[in-house]
């Protein structure tokens, strides 16, 4: 488990982790800069310097490959780009890894051996792995580790990302994202045309809604940096600054450099907040441009949701919306009605929410949402007792043979769901899958080697007509492929032939479209190791990343660490959730965790003259500062400060409670940790780097 | 003692000290006694320490004594002492001093006021305290609960009042050599003869009562406050409860003695606290060392 604190963020998942530890005698290896509560339950704990996950994992891969511990058959048949990857990995010898990560060389070898001798093993990660400027490299490194160990597509193997919010998987699948349409279709013309077909609207009409066609295919601003579109501190690439903001069930205080977002509030002409509780955002700004709409909680409405294991569950409505609150659907309907496109918007939607689910099923073919009809999801949720706890397969009953929650891809209306991705031991119709053939059939690498990207001969799901690799299905219905064939004939044809609609290919270790084709270590933008910056520099600046200039190299300054000597990491506490508006409004949870604190190592605290419980100022290079209570503990090492990020209600030492609507300020208030999180964004996804910034601490 | 036995003796001592040193070293290494933090037993004892402190110390004493011992002590105090006094009353009877030789002004009106306030609230304390001790008999509930509140209120008033009383009387309450003699003859109460008894303004019994009720009362107030406020650690609370009970029993005992003395043992004794005057004869005999002005 790397960069995950499941014991606090996903306590119920720990039930299964501890079961593995006790019953299967599985070693639990925790890699984290902080000795978390999960580490307390682990068999092995590795303390790593924040932001060096790639170096550590590449070090493991190097050991596994060079000592011949890798799964040769798996690599031969199902992995692409292996030699190229090995070449890169060979740089990360245990000594190099020790220098970069701080993990002793012997530990690297030991952990590699542990991984190699305990198969199948799973890799779990969370925000600790992703919220870095090299977050996408980290996640790829984790996947490559599993590939070389041959742990992919096996029960007990795979990569398990414990996602944060209850439906972050579902919302991501629905692509509430600025670079894609639902089902990860992207925003190219073909995708727009596909969805226009699903929505039953004219493509030209949708095009006319946009400023120009260019902006239709241009990735939009992201949650991480939307405020730059207002403040324009970094140059933006859009014809107009952002003037209005709708913030729908999303906490403002989870943005890094949050004070910049707060600054943007006064420049906006309109802010609409839709939330069941008074969120942090209503304390920002002081202009009369802000509306607060009370939406009901999710227990007062119904709909499907996708959990971290891609399972659909139906959330049944418990009670009617309380007070004058309205549920999300109703608010959306009111808004759309007034904006004048309700007839087109709700063309095929009469019964809410079931008709929406059907529309999703109709269009989201890429990830096999099409089999997850509302009736089926409801049937599963209502009969959850018929599913076996180990296999999650129903034994008898109305869902006989299906997997709980129809984990996507669920290809057809009778498909049982795919509990384990890329599992070739089962027929496709019974939940098996090969790797997806997404990137063509052949590739020539930068070193001149050409490789066939399809899986090797003899590797296919049982019952497949083609015993080996095959490309994706298309032109079964002329002019369409399996993703765009709304009649779904293509998918059904593929399943009938025992084959996956998306083909059977190799998993690639080399991504030729990324700046780092194979993951390599790069120092965080704000690095505490100036000596390593020259050797592992960050990326070149990216002038147009999601419509905004994003600094990398120009931001990296070896001198910074002198003024800001501590690494700041943020994370969760078990009692609170996200921005915390919900949990801090719960009197019992607030009683358990009423205050924000900064975890400081005992040695650091003594050097700085800080006592346990004393107030300290934490300052970021960007100029944000917060006043929090020091918690002197051994959880973090001498160079690291940990902050839980759930709090709001105080701003740089000032109480903001009176800026909330009367009587609605949460019980627990404190400084938002994200005021002091640093500049730094992932090169691919623009995820904010909250887990490797720098800060300074001084007694208040 | 011959030489060889001396050598043997020294050798034995040396051996002992080596053994002791080795033992201590082992202890410090935590080799013998604490098997390190990975041991579940060690973890358990650490939990125990975090949760209730050293429970085995006063906790055990408290649960051993509270269910039966304390109640028994109180029971025999309030039953036994009156019994003894009843026998005394029947066998020896009260002393009677004549008022013919005039009276001595003994207690100023302020003293009397303070005394009576103390008397009332102390009686309340005793009664309500006993009600809590024997709560079982009364069935608990709102009655005893409100009596407990009365106990608290009375304690507050009495504490203030007792402090004043202390200042008024403390001058006359210092022990004197003849007090020992008074104690030896038990104040002359065992006979009806009117031999002068060695005592100053207050006799040894009264002095004891005074010190117990003021200093002891202070302790009672302090321990009582702790038990009321729960402001200290559990371990200190248990000690407080133990002290409160033992001291309480002693105070109840003296309270009964005081009652008997003032109501029955000397006829008309109560009058002196009402009017302020004592018969000259009584003073000359019972407080023979007191110089009447």
């Amino acid at each position: 488990m790397i960069g995950s604190n499941a014991a606090e963020a996903h306590p119920v998942a720990m039930q299964h982790v501890l079961y593995a530890k006790e019953v299967n005698n599985a070693p639990i290896i925790v890699v984290d800069p902080r000795f978390t509560r999960l580490a307390a339950k682990a068999t092995d704990y590795v303390r790593i310097r924040p932001g060096t996950d790639t170096a550590f994992v590449m070090g493991l891969i190097n050991q596994i490959v060079s000592r011949d511990w890798y799964d040769k058959e798996f690599v031969r048949t199902r992995v692409a780009g292996f030699p190229e990857m090995c070449k890169v990995a060979s740089h990360y010898t245990p000594e190099v890894v020790e220098d970069i990560t701080g993990v002793p060389a012997s530990e690297v070898v030991r952990i590699a051996k542990l991984m190699a001798t305990h198969r199948p093993g799973t890799v779990v990660w969370c925000m600790g792995g992703t919220q870095h400027s090299i977050g996408s490299s980290n996640t790829r490194a984790f996947c490559i580790l599993q590939l070389v160990l041959g742990n992919m597509g096996k029960a007990g193997g795979g990569t398990n990302i414990f996602r944060g919010h209850d439906n972050v998987q579902g919302a991501t699948d629905m692509c509430v994202l600025s670079h894609s349409l639902p089902g990860y279709y992207g925003i190219k013309d073909g995708s727009w045309k596909h969805w226009c077909q699903v929505w039953d609207v004219d493509y030209e009409w949708i095009k006319s809604r946009f400023h120009s066609k260019e902006y239709m295919n241009k990735k939009g601003f992201t949650l991480a940096r939307w405020y730059e579109g207002v403040n324009q501190d970094d140059k933006i690439n859009q014809y107009t600054p952002i003037k209005a903001l709708i913030q729908w069930g999303c906490a403002g205080n989870s943005n890094s450099q949050m004070f910049k977002a707060a600054k943007a509030m006064n420049k906006l002409e309109l802010v609409v907040i839709v939330d069941p509780f008074a969120p942090a955002m209503c304390e920002w700004g002081d202009k009369d441009n802000i509306y607060l709409l009370p939406c009901s909680s999710q227990y007062e409405t119904s709909g499907s949701l996708t959990s971290t294991s891609r399972q659909f569950q139906w959330r049944f409505k418990v009670v009617d919306p309380v007070y004058e609150s309205k549920d999300d659907y109703e608010i959306m309907a009111e808004l759309v009605k007034r904006l004048g496109f309700a007839d087109k918007f709700y063309k095929n939607i009469k019964k809410i929410p079931e008709d929406i689910t059907r529309e999703i099923c109709k269009g989201t073919l890429t990830i096999g949402y099409n089999g997850a009809l509302p009736e089926r999801i409801k049937k599963h949720t209502l009969n959850w007792h018929t599913f076996d706890i180990d296999t999650l397969q129903a034994k008898g009953g109305p869902c006989d043979g299906e997997y709980y929650g129809l984990p996507w891809p669920c290809w057809t209306e009778t498909h049982p769901g795919t509990p384990i991705l890329y599992d070739i031991s089962k027929p496709v119709a019974k939940g098996g899958l090969p790797f997806r053939a997404r990137f063509g059939t052949k590739i020539t690498y930068y070193d001149g080697r050409t490789e066939n990207l399809l899986a090797a001969e003899g590797v296919a799901n049982p019952g497949s007509q083609v015993k080996g690799g095959y490309p994706e299905f298309k032109d079964i219905v002329p002019g369409t492929n399996w993703k765009t064939d709304l009649s779904q004939k293509t998918i059904k044809e593929a399943i009938k032939r025992g084959m996956a609609p998306f083909g059977n290919a190799r998993a690639r270790c080399v991504v030729w479209t990324f700046p780092d084709q194979v993951p390599v270590h790069r120092e965080p933008v704000h690095s505490p190791r100036p000596d390593l910056i020259a050797k592992y520099p960050t990326y070149e600046d990216k002038p147009d990343q999601y419509r905004v200039y994003t600094r990398f190299k120009s931001e990296q300054d070896p001198e910074l660490v002198k003024k800001f000597p501590f690494v700041i990491i943020t994370g969760r506490m078990v009692e609170h959730m996200g921005g915390g508006a919900e949990t801090r409004s719960n009197k019992y949870l607030s009683e358990l965790q009423p205050k924000v604190y900064a975890e400081i190592n005992e040695r650091t605290a003594n050097n700085l003259g800080i006592r346990n419980g004393q107030m300290v100022w934490i300052e970021s290079p960007e100029g944000g500062r917060i006043k929090v209570m020091a918690k002197v503990t051994d959880r973090v090492d001498e160079h690291t400060i940990f902050l839980p990020y759930h709090f709001a209600g105080q701003f740089e030492g000032k109480s903001m409670v009176d800026k909330y609507p009367e009587g609605l300020a949460p019980y627990a208030v404190g400084e938002p940790a994200n005021i002091v999180t640093n500049y730094g964004y992932d090169i691919i996804t623009q995820i904010q780097a909250t887990k490797d910034g720098l800060c300074n601490v001084k007694p208040a | 003692m011959n030489r060889s036995s001396l050598v043997l003796y020294v050798f034995f001592l040396l051996l002992c000290s080596i053994a002791a040193a080795a033992g201590m070293a082992l202890c410090q290494n935590q080799f013998l006694f604490s098997p390190g933090h990975e041991s579940i037993t060690a973890a358990f004892s650490q939990f125990k320490g975090t949760i209730v402190g050293d429970w085995n110390h006063y906790g055990r004493l408290f649960i051993e004594w509270q269910p039966a011992l304390f109640r028994a002590i109180f029971f025999w105090t309030i039953i036994g002492l009156p019994l003894v006094f009843l026998i005394h009353f029947i066998a020896i009877g009260p002393k009677d001093f004549s008022h013919e030789r005039g009276e001595v002004f003994y207690f100023s009106s302020f003293t009397r006021l303070v005394h009576w306030v103390a008397a009332i609230f102390f009686s309340l304390l005793v009664l309500t305290g006993l009600a809590v001790v024997f709560g079982k008999t009364f069935g608990g509930g709102s009655l005893i609960r409100s009596l407990r509140y009365v106990h608290v209120v009375s304690a507050l008033v009495f504490t203030v009042d007792a402090a004043v009383l202390f200042l008024i009387w403390v001058r006359d309450m210092f022990p004197a050599p003849y007090d020992v003699k008074w104690l030896l003859i038990l104040g002359g109460y065992l006979s009806k003869a009117k031999r002068p008894v060695p005592a100053g303004r207050f006799n040894a019994g009264q002095k004891a009562w005074f010190w117990l009720s003021t200093i002891g009362g202070g302790f009672m107030a302090w321990t009582g406050y702790q038990m009321f406020s729960f402001g200290v650690e559990a371990e200190a609370l248990r000690l407080a409860a133990i002290i409160h009970n033992f001291l309480g029993a002693a105070l109840v005992g003296f309270f009964i003695i005081h009652l008997y003395m003032s109501l029955f043992a000397i006829k008309g004794s109560l009058r002196s606290m009402i009017t302020g005057f004592k018969p000259r004869e009584e003073v000359e005999i019972m407080h023979s060392r007191y110089k009447i002005h």
């Binding site: 629905m174 902006y215 002081d286 909680s297 999300d328 609170h576 919900e582 | -």
Partner: protein, 197 residues
């Protein structure tokens, strides 16, 4: 030490007048409980005991006429099951979803207090608007009219990309889909949600 003071239910009358619990009912439920408790608490180890529990349902209910609604916890992505007991439209208590295949009835502190999402007095009660730095209650119609008028105004003045929409991972798939669809119909790609950060 202390003498043993176990009060037998059977002899309730003699030892204590205070116990009014029906001894018959009590005893029967204990026998049942021991099975129930085992199934619940040992779930990860002895999950197959569950079936035995359902054998006998308690005759008397603390909330007569209540409905048990299956729903899913709204906090993290584990997707723990919740059984909500609803009486006359009021969520009276949270029952335990012992047979949920993922959580086996387990909850962390957030999920255990899920009912507070509905019952908390800190819930926003009406639409509000900031006027002169103070929050003012307004009606839904007023709020939606003003917001949409302003949005259309901005769209006309600055174009559709002047709006940024931050959606949510807290809503259902259907709502998330509508949010993305809204942005598409509005004519902007400026939409994002928590998965980004």
């Amino acid at each position: 030490m202390a003498q043993k003071k176990i009060i037998k239910n059977g002899k309730a009358g003699k030892r204590s007048r205070r116990i009014t619990l029906n001894p018959k009912l009590a005893r029967r439920s204990f026998l049942k409980l021991s099975v129930a408790a085992a199934a619940v608490t040992g779930a990860a180890l002895a999950p197959r005991l569950t079936k035995t529990v359902a054998a006998e349902a308690a005759k008397k209910e603390p909330y007569p006429g209540s409905k048990k609604i299956k729903t899913i916890c709204t906090y993290c992505s584990v997707g723990c099951g919740i059984i909500a007991e609803v009486q006359n439209g009021v969520w009276v208590r949270q029952e335990i979803a012992t047979d949920h295949p993922v959580s086996r009835g387990g909850h962390c502190c957030k999920g255990a207090g899920a009912i507070e999402m509905v019952t908390s007095e800190k819930r926003l009660k009406t639409p509000m608007k900031r006027v002169g730095g103070k929050w003012q209650k307004i009606s839904w119609d007023q709020a939606m009219d003003e917001i949409s008028a302003k949005l259309l105004d901005i769209r006309k003045k600055d174009g559709p990309d002047a709006l940024h929409f931050n959606g949510s991972a807290k809503v259902s798939n259907e709502m998330a889909y509508l949010q993305r669809k809204f942005a598409a119909f509005w004519g902007s790609n400026n939409i994002d949600h928590q998965a980004r950060i």
